[in-house]
Symmetry: C2
Subunit: 276 residues, 2 copies
């Protein structure tokens, strides 16, 4: 979620967390990170988002944030333990960075400088450390602009995507970078606001009753969260940068693997996917 004004995520999280055992089987832990200006609060648990007392706190404690990344895990690589729970957190350029990945990477063994090292043993945390390592390689310890990071990500993300499914969200609290190789959807809620009805739970909120005209919220999710809103699917290789609750940069990257698979469907690997 990326917002123009600090917004709480209790409505979306209520529906989303149902997918951790009720409407889907992403039960192997959950995590959610909230930026509050430069600060970042990361909550993780190895219980499912349906059972966890921490998820219960999140559903009931309306933390107001401009950038939130949440993840419910279906373990494909790495054990079901806490150090493998997304999202992952690192500091760079005096800012916290948060990363969550949906998908599976194979034979992905990049060389790391040591500047960022995975704590757990997932392909996802490794990809995150590699991304940040490449940021430092490109820009050193001087913070670049969001646009410069976006351009660099357009080069690195497709290289990582050569190794499998690489849908991700990445935020430094200023903006939210997103990328899809297989499945991601987005929408913007803004004035004039409408009612929204959750898919995973029979709950409706009329946003026109709880918002001001200044509010604007972009929601990015693997599968749409509501019935009656216009979600846009990402194309394969699409990258979008969100700021102030709306897309500010789009790009379509060339993912060689996807092109090869389209030409020869027999090459396609069956992958199970984590879900935002």
């Amino acid at each position: 979620m990326n917002c123009a004004t600090p917004t709480d995520i209790t409505f979306s999280f209520r529906g989303f967390s149902q997918r951790a055992g009720v409407t889907s089987d992403h039960c192997d832990g959950f995590g959610i990170a909230f930026f509050e200006d430069k600060a970042c609060r990361l909550f993780v648990d190895n219980q499912s988002a349906v059972e966890s007392p921490i998820a219960d706190l999140i559903r009931n404690y309306p933390i107001k944030s401009r950038n939130v990344i949440a993840h419910i895990r279906k373990a494909t690589q790495g054990k079901i333990n806490l150090e493998n729970s997304h999202p992952f957190l690192r500091e760079l350029w005096g800012r916290h960075w948060i990363f969550a990945h949906n998908g599976d990477l194979h034979d992905f063994k990049p060389e790391l400088s040591g500047r960022f090292e995975p704590v757990g043993n997932t392909d996802s945390e490794l990809a995150f450390c590699y991304l940040l390592d490449q940021f430092v390689e490109a820009f050193g310890y001087t913070e670049p602009s969001l646009e410069e990071i976006f351009v660099l990500l357009q080069r690195i993300a497709p290289q990582i995507a050569e190794h499998g499914t690489f849908n991700f969200c990445l935020s430094n609290g200023k903006a939210l970078f997103s990328y899809a190789t297989t499945k991601l959807h987005w929408l913007v809620r803004e004035y004039p606001f409408q009612p929204a009805h959750l898919i995973d739970l029979d709950v409706e909120v009329d946003f026109s009753q709880v918002t001001t005209p200044e509010d604007r919220v972009a929601v990015i999710t693997t599968e749409p969260l509501t019935h009656n809103e216009a979600w846009t699917a990402y194309q394969a290789g699409e990258m979008i940068l969100f700021q102030h609750g709306k897309p500010i940069l789009h790009a379509l990257t060339r993912v060689e693997r996807l092109i090869r698979e389209a030409e020869n469907p027999a090459l396609k690997r069956v992958t199970k996917a984590d879900q935002y």
Copy 2:
């Protein structure tokens, strides 16, 4: 808290959190970090540990951990906002590191490489980044032994302490480093366990009823938490490394500033102190 076996901190935290407004005035936010093997969960809030729903969760959700660092803040430098809440978290050598500081540093402006940068604007987070920077300076990206880190800390900590009060706890989940220039106490609870009665709340626990002979817990705190246990005060400049619930290395470092102050009390600065 440093423990031989995963232990919950609900008893100690119940008493400790009273100091955030009831028995003391450390109301400007709180934080607590739990290591669970290599994973680390950090909870912070800018509400006091008496009022915060997150503190309430901690008092009632018995997270079992071998290394816990908790902090209740009385703001002396830096605003009362979330990015200034202790403890602070960074990753180095594929391990999370957690740091909390009690005290006040003046004219402390070390040069940083950029490898670790403060997110907030406290002297404490700056000292933490400086410590980790010095670790990399000394050992590069190859993880040294706990003893090697202890020896390095004996050189760096007194240099930082030249700038004021520098009581701290630092952990990477394997062990807990502690250092005092003015005020810190420790004790070890082990077999045969005894009842303990909190100072800040009329609550007693008979640890012999809730422990096994394998349990052993070291508790390090600014001010003793219980009436009827034998707390040992740190000497000025004392550094202790705790592992498996007991001290494994002691050292007494020479803090030039304290020696000068002892020789000439007029030099002594009045400092207000944060509290673990």
